[in-house]
Amino acid sequence: MTRGFLINLVLFAMLPVTALVALMLDEPFIITLTTKVAILALAGVGLNIALGLGGLVSLGHAAFFGIGGYAMGILAHHAQTFTPILESPLLIEGSKSMPVIWLVAVLTGALAALAIGALSLRTSGVYFIMITLAFGQMLYYFAISWPAYGGEDGLSIYVRNGFPGLNTLDPIQFFAITFVVLALVLWGAGRFAASPFGLALSAARQNPERVETVGLSPYRLRLLAFVISGAVTALAGALFADLNRFVSPTMLSWHMSGEIMIFVILGGVGRLFGPVAGAALFILLEHILGGLSDFWHVYLGLLLLLVVLFARGGMIGALAGRQVAHD
């Protein structure tokens, strides 16, 4: 455990250290990149709850990421145009406050995950993969064809949303917010994995028959895990949209689902800090390879192929060795 724990600690400390060094060197772009890593890692942590713990290979998590993004986009859009979202039967106003937006994002993400999960979890294996993919795509086409919120062009927000007591326009302060959110969620996800519920969920992945025999319903365990996973990913989506001050159907596209999955895999499936390592590696590659060639996705694809075929534990697995694998 110790070596894995050390690696996690170093990985986690890397984010604020990078941001602080960038602050001292006066490189706001690097701070923004680090913020991006933290947010994408958060999305990966969300997916990892379903994928790593629950064994649910969801190829539709961009749906929740995008729902979080649109929760931010729609609330902020109404707040900046001073139009209410709904007038009757009750008045709902837009909002430029991050905590409010997060709450809405988490709730809508959880609701969407409940609906999609309730249907998709009736099946398993390869059906589940295709169905989550299809539902994600359904929301993507819906966002494109629904003209009220920008359709294909998406929604722009002029000023980043506020957080009480902080100036979110300052890159380092916004980074601090996302980092604290990531830390809290990681802590929660760690507790969750060790809780009776998390253990039951893990057991349902390894041997559903036995779980059923002791009187637990694998379906309900998985559904709840899927809902939590969707809610966390939606929170990441709201932060991502705030980072870019822009939300568009791209956030809902299935390439996004694939990328979130790549963060989890590059880092190591089922490892708590895997998505942090994966997201950091992804952004690093994007900037190193992206600078070398416009076609850097070819190299990303080759790397992913090699990791899947030959290095199944991902980055943390390679560093920590097999003895600390999750199960």
Binding site: R122, Y127, I129, M130, A134, P147, V298, L300, L304, L305
Partner: protein
């Protein structure tokens, strides 16, 4: 809504459905025989279309272009099977998803590298272009009719291949018991390469046939791939008959939904709002169809439990 327009749209839906079948048949065969989920199937569709556009541009012959699409996609499929896919058969679905997703990245960006980002165009041959008058005075593009015919012929050929030939028997035997047919002396890895190449060839041909109606561009395979997944979920994995029924259902629902739904909503809403709601719902209609099938038959219409 006139009857003529409606019939035209039904034909459009059929044409779309038949093309979806060519994609879905390969996917469902590959899944049924090898137990592999292949996200890169859309890339093979794209490879077929690009090969056809390149050959048609060089020689001007549409027939050669079609042959090129079939050969290029089948060859690409065979190579990919030998190099990568072969290692994935006894892996879990997650590894298969990731590895084939990686293949998509490689194929898409590789094609962009070779051909650039601009769409290519594949012309419909003069003999097949222009409208034809159907009984009842309906004008309909001849090429789309030919596509429907070709697609149905291929479907028929595929059914015959699976049901009547020795290769078909082996494919079906491979679906039910791979150890047994290996023990009976069938070279199972050759059979797998063959099935994969067959599925790839069908996808490539579909890409070339559709490429002449739309444009040939990078990423063209992915929307079709996802629709083919919907088709398979509706029809049931591993069932070719299910793929045909599912493909026609999806093709018709998608096409007719886009035409009819805005009109339906216009009967009780303002025109502008009706168009918005109607077209949004139409874009979701096939997924709603899929959800409905899942509620009643989680294994699809023709799937076995």
């Amino acid at each position: 809504m006139t009857t003529i327009l409606l019939i035209e749209q039904v034909l459009n839906g059929l044409q779309f459905g038949v093309m979806l079948f060519l994609m879905a048949a390969g996917l469902t065969l590959i899944f049924g025989v090898m137990g592999l989920i292949n996200l890169a199937h859309g890339s093979l569709y794209m490879i077929g279309a690009f090969a056809a556009a390149a050959v048609a541009g060089a020689t001007g012959s549409f027939v050669l272009a079609l042959i090129a699409s079939l050969v290029a996609a089948a060859a690409a499929g065979a190579i990919v099977e030998l190099v990568v896919i072969r290692r994935l058969y006894d892996r879990d679905h997650l590894d298969q998803v990731l590895a084939t997703f990686a293949l998509i990245l490689i194929f898409s960006e590789g094609t962009r590298w070779l051909f650039g980002s601009f769409p290519l165009f594949l012309d419909i041959p003069p003999a097949l272009s222009g409208p034809v008058t159907l009984p009842g005075g309906i004008e309909y593009p001849l090429y789309r009719l030919v596509i429907i015919g070709v697609g149905l012929l291929i479907a028929l050929g595929l059914f015959q291949l699976i049901a009547r030939t020795r290769i078909g028997i082996r494919i079906r035997a491979g679906e039910s018991d791979r150890e047994m047919i290996a023990a009976l002396g069938v070279d199972i890895s050759k059979l797998y390469t063959l099935v994969f190449a067959l599925g790839a060839g069908l996808a490539g041909l579909a890409g070339a046939l559709v490429g002449a109606i739309q444009s040939v561009q990078v990423g063209m395979g992915e929307p079709v791939l996802i629709l083919a997944f919907v088709v398979i979920v509706i029809g049931g994995i591993g069932s070719i008959r299910g793929a045909l029924v599912g493909a026609l259902l999806v093709g018709l629902t998608d096409t007719l939904g886009g035409v009819l739904l805005p009109g339906v909503f216009a009967t009780f809403m303002e025109p502008a709002a009706a168009t918005a709601v109607g077209s949004s719902l139409a874009s979701m209609s096939i997924y709603i169809l899929m959800a409905a099938v899942l509620l009643f038959k989680p294994t699809g219409l023709y799937g076995s439990a």
